[in-house]
């Protein structure tokens, strides 16, 4: 048996080590891709063995180095982080399969650079998931921002560079201006930044201060894309689709909401917040973001843009669920991180699949496409249902928990927001499915293209299948979440 420490080091270092081999095998593309796939498989094995320990009730820890007195790089795996690491490592594998199909199918340049930065981004995501204090979280949060920047600007065009500037500008400025001061402030107030069961802040620092800190985190964590800090997300859509899929639908944005959930649970503690907060501003901000983003998504014709705004709205579900502060809604928040990850990655995979096969990017061009690309559009339909929250998909589960939470604290605002946004979700996803399967192609001719390359189809079928499987067999995630709620009380 390997020790906990070694496993944690492996989980973070495997992708980093992989970058070296990817760089070395630069000229042998097949070997290079094998390296990526192999390290993704290894990462899954490592994360899986950690998962077994967490399920057994352990919390593996690792103190790395102390770079400021009292502040060290410290990793501790609690249930929520475990869940996030599972998602990230598993989807890295699927996404790598997809990337191979996509990058080759579209003859993208600089593929080696692409795989290298991708691996670094995964390593930092795992680092965020396992972080045991705010400072470690912050370090990896920044690494994630910086390592994804070259991916966003991958095309190197003027557009891509402008988008990259928005991306970097918003994410770095919010983190440095709001997130970092909040961390230092907490360190001054509490003398520590460790994530602790029951929180590290107490009532006597004053209600106003707690509220300001909460807001600093909500906006400082720009990756959570709470409006008006959301602009980077649509901008990042200039990146190649696998980047949008894994990073801007899963890893980066989920790192944002994950951090917020983790901070609310382990820094503030829900009990403290429900004592202190009279008007739940965070709840209203999240609700507003959900609705506004959905309305924008409804009007967007570019498919990826529509998905981007859908992501913004779905992220705020997590924030909203957290802000309800009921244990069951926090379970819902965590479940939604999981459900939305698989659903949204499928949708992006499908968008990329359509682009690879047909070079089409607009919703209005998709009439009748379902006949030519049945697998892609089938997966798209399943994922859409998950977004809307229809059984038998994972999205239903998480919405169920969130709604239960909303009812338990009698927050009619939250209930109303969820109902309205469900309608809006249906409003912007169902027409696409309808057009794809039931409408005739515009010019009446037979469509001249087929399904996308096999790796792409394979990847999106897998994720769509998992969306359904998660509904049928949610035991493992629920077990983790029960541990999480156990920690909170």
């Amino acid at each position: 048996m390997m020790s906990d420490q070694l496993l944690i080091v492996l989980a973070i270092c495997l992708p980093v080590v992989a970058t070296v081999f990817i760089a070395v095998t630069h000229n042998y593309t097949n070997v290079r891709e094998t390296v990526t796939l192999f390290s993704a498989v290894c990462l899954i094995i490592v994360v899986y063995s950690l998962l077994q320990r967490v399920l057994a009730g352990e919390q593996p820890q690792l103190h790395l180095l102390e770079f400021l007195p009292g502040l060290s790089l410290h990793f501790k795996i609690e249930p929520l982080g475990m869940l996030f690491a599972c998602i990230a490592s598993f989807l890295w594998l699927i996404n790598s399969i997809y990337s191979i199909g996509y990058m080759r199918g579209n003859k993208e340049k600089h593929q080696t650079r692409f795989y290298i930065y991708f691996a670094i981004a995964i390593a930092s995501t795992i680092g965020i998931a396992f972080s045991a204090n705010l400072i470690t979280l912050f370090v990896f949060y920044e690494v994630l921002t910086l390592s994804t920047y070259p991916l966003v600007t991958h095309k190197g065009s003027e557009d891509a560079m402008r988008a990259g500037r928005v991306y970097l500008g918003i994410l770095l400025s919010t983190s440095i201006c709001l997130f970092l001061p909040a961390i230092i402030w907490i360190n001054v107030l509490a003398g520590t930044t460790e994530f602790t069961n029951g929180g590290i802040l107490t009532n006597d620092i004053g209600h106003g201060v707690i509220l300001i800190l909460l807001m600093l985190f909500a906006y400082g964590i720009g990756k959570a894309a709470l409006m008006p800090m959301h602009r980077w997300l649509p901008a990042a859509m200039v990146a190649p689709t696998p980047v949008s899929a894994l990073l801007h639908a899963v890893a980066v944005v989920k790192a944002g909401v994950f951090s917020i959930v983790k901070i609310v649970i382990y820094i503030f503690s829900p009990a403290l917040l429900s004592d202190v907060i009279e008007i739940n501003i965070l709840l209203y901000l999240a609700g507003l973001t959900i609705i506004v983003a959905s309305v924008i998504a409804l009007q967007a014709d570019n498919l990826k843009r529509r998905l981007a705004y859908s992501t913004i709205s779905q992220l705020s579900y997590v924030v909203l669920a957290t802000a309800l502060l009921a244990p069951i809604s926090i379970m819902g928040a965590a479940l939604h991180i999981l459900a939305h990850a698989f659903g949204k990655i499928t949708l992006f995979f499908a968008a990329g699949s359509i682009y690879t096969a047909t070079k089409k990017t607009s919703v209005s061009e998709l009439d009748g496409i379902g006949k030519a690309m049945p697998w892609t559009m089938g997966a798209f339909a399943i994922a859409s249902l998950s977004m809307i929250g229809v059984p038998p998909t994972a999205g239903f589960l998480s919405k169920w928990y969130i709604l239960q939470g909303a009812f338990s604290v009698e927050s009619w605002f939250a209930v109303g927001v969820i109902i309205i946004s469900t309608l809006l979700n249906a409003g912007y996803f169902l027409p696409i499915i309808y057009a794809a399967f039931l409408k005739k192609p515009v010019d009446g001719k037979e469509l001249s293209y087929n399904e996308a390359p096999l790796p792409i189809v394979l990847a999106l079928t897998l994720t769509a299948a998992i969306t359904i499987l998660l509904f049928l067999f949610p035991e493992t995630p629920l077990q983790l979440l029960n541990l999480l709620v156990g920690n909170m009380s």
Binding site: F67, L68, R165, I176, N187
Partner: protein, 495 residues
């Protein structure tokens, strides 16, 4: 035996080496001699470092004449902290200087450059070790006069104007410092810093002492390029040979910040009434204004050297900010930044020295696509740039952390805002170049330039050391942070 004379050797060795350089009259030999001298100087300061840590304050009577008759050299923790910074920077920069200097200064003047360099080092080290207020003025003048010479030695004719401007400003500043020292001598009857410190409390509210403080602050403000007395700095950094800018950026302004700290804490005394409120508020306002002004102007520059010069003005603001908090944590934060900024700015300047060596230009618009030609060099710049911005795991982050923490502890919210906002501005001006180098096509940039085929190995080596230092001190900051904390602790709780 010799170990007891180390304080004076610190100053004497470079002073003696300077005329030998003139006798050698040959660039390469002069370089070897100067590098050796720097190395010896560094070793001496390391030995002194250990001595002071083991035995406490060292007092050395120059020529065997004890104070108040003779000049006292006084070495406490702050002294050795600064000695280490200055000698470290000087040695490593000089190690890589040969190639760039040979490229930018005509060969018949090379030995003069090394002579001026040694004199400058003498001056800077002398300022740090001396415990005598008038002697300090003398060393300030040695350092300043030699730096005017170093700036004006380049091929670019504009450096003459820059040097002249610096000369005028610098002389005014030095005169003010002299007036201040004179006034203090007048009322206390001594030039020894420790004695002045003891006698001042009896007369602390007299107009003479206040006047002395004002003259001193203005004088040192000019020398250290504190906003709004910084006007000489951008030209001096921009037009002088790039190695000179590197050295000045890493050492001179730091030494004058040291003088400011020394005067506040070891001469006037930080507990004195008049140094408390108005004075600190003034420093704080100037610091903030300097931070914002420097960062803003840095964004607008096209020349990399000028950009870094304005950035230096902003970064000096950070150090001043720490000092102006007038708390133990604030002083420590300021000192930590003195150390870290020396590393960061020298790394950035050395990268620019390399860039100029390859391309003969430092204009951002002409350097687009540079990363394809010199990838490793751009990585160095990037690491140092991230460090300047204050990204975690780099030295700059440590500085930011302590500065923000100190501001929080003193309850100054506004300062936190200033610090984080100027970090954003730093992102803008660093990214301006990074983006051009990495993401713009070389067609309108580097491809048009005639690149130097030579490879500056020594220069790259120096740069490499500094890049590693940026990361090392971001991960294990115990050396500088512990030193700074203990210096601040000593000043606030006695030795």
């Amino acid at each position: 035996m010799i170990s007891s004379h180390l304080p004076v050797l610190q100053v004497i060795i470079p002073l003696i080496a300077a005329p030998i350089c003139v006798i050698l009259r040959q660039g390469l030999l002069a370089w070897i001699l100067t590098t050796l001298v720097c190395l010896i100087s560094l070793i001496i300061s390391c030995v002194l470092f250990n001595q002071v840590l083991d035995e406490g304050v060292i007092s050395y009577a120059l020529g065997g004449w004890f104070s108040p008759w003779g000049i006292e050299y006084r070495l406490d923790k702050l002294t050795i902290f600064m000695l280490l910074i200055i000698n470290g920077v000087a040695t490593i920069v000089l190690l890589g200087a040969k190639e760039s200097v040979a490229d930018e200064i005509s060969s018949d003047r090379l030995y003069l450059f090394y002579t001026a360099f040694l004199l400058n080092l003498t001056g800077l080290l002398g300022v740090i070790v001396t415990g005598d207020a008038f002697n300090l003025f003398v060393f300030i003048e040695i350092a300043s006069l030699s730096s005017y010479a170093m700036i004006s030695i380049g091929r670019d004719r504009r450096c003459l104007y820059a040097a002249f401007k610096y000369l005028i400003f610098g002389t005014v500043g030095a005169s003010f410092i002299l007036i201040s020292v004179g006034l203090l001598y007048d009322v206390t009857g001594t030039l020894n810093m420790a004695d002045i410190f003891q006698r001042l409390p009896d007369i602390e509210n007299t107009k003479t002492v206040t006047t002395a403080l004002i003259f001193f602050v203005v004088g040192i403000g000019i020398k250290a390029a504190i906003f709004p007395l910084h006007l000489w700095l951008p030209d001096a950094y921009n037009y002088s040979p790039s190695i000179v800018s590197t050295f000045l950026a890493g050492t001179t302004t730091k030494v004058f910040i040291y003088v400011l700290i020394r005067f506040i804490y070891s001469i006037f005394g930080h507990e004195t009434v008049f140094i408390q409120e108005a004075f600190n508020n003034l420093l704080m306002i100037l610091a903030c204004a300097g931070i914002l002004y420097g960062s803003y102007l840095a964004i607008k520059q096209d020349s990399l050297k000028r950009l870094l010069a304005y950035s230096s003005i902003a970064q000096l603001g950070y150090m001043l900010l720490g000092i102006s908090l007038a708390t133990e944590a604030g002083l420590a934060a300021g000192l930590i930044h003195v150390f870290n900024h020396a590393i960061i700015k020298v790394t950035l300047f050395l990268s620019v020295v390399c860039i100029i060596f390859y391309t003969r230009t430092d204009s951002i618009s002409q350097l687009s696509g540079l990363a394809k030609t010199t990838p490793l060099l751009m990585v160095s710049f990037l690491v140092a740039g991230l460090s300047l911005i204050g990204v975690p795991m780099t030295a700059g982050f440590i500085s930011k952390w302590y500065l923000i923490k100190a501001s929080f502890e003193s309850g100054y919210w506004g300062l936190v805002l200033v610090i984080v906002f100027s970090s954003l501005l730093a992102i803008v001006y660093i990214w301006k170049f990074v983006e051009a180098a990495y993401f713009k096509s070389p067609e309108n940039g580097v491809s048009k330039l005639e690149l130097n085929k030579e490879r500056p190995y020594l220069l790259s080596f120096s740069l490499f050391i500094f890049v590693i230092a940026n990361i090392y001190f971001g991960i294990d900051s115990s050396l500088n942070v512990d030193m700074a904390n203990s210096i601040a602790h000593d000043f606030y709780h006695g030795f």
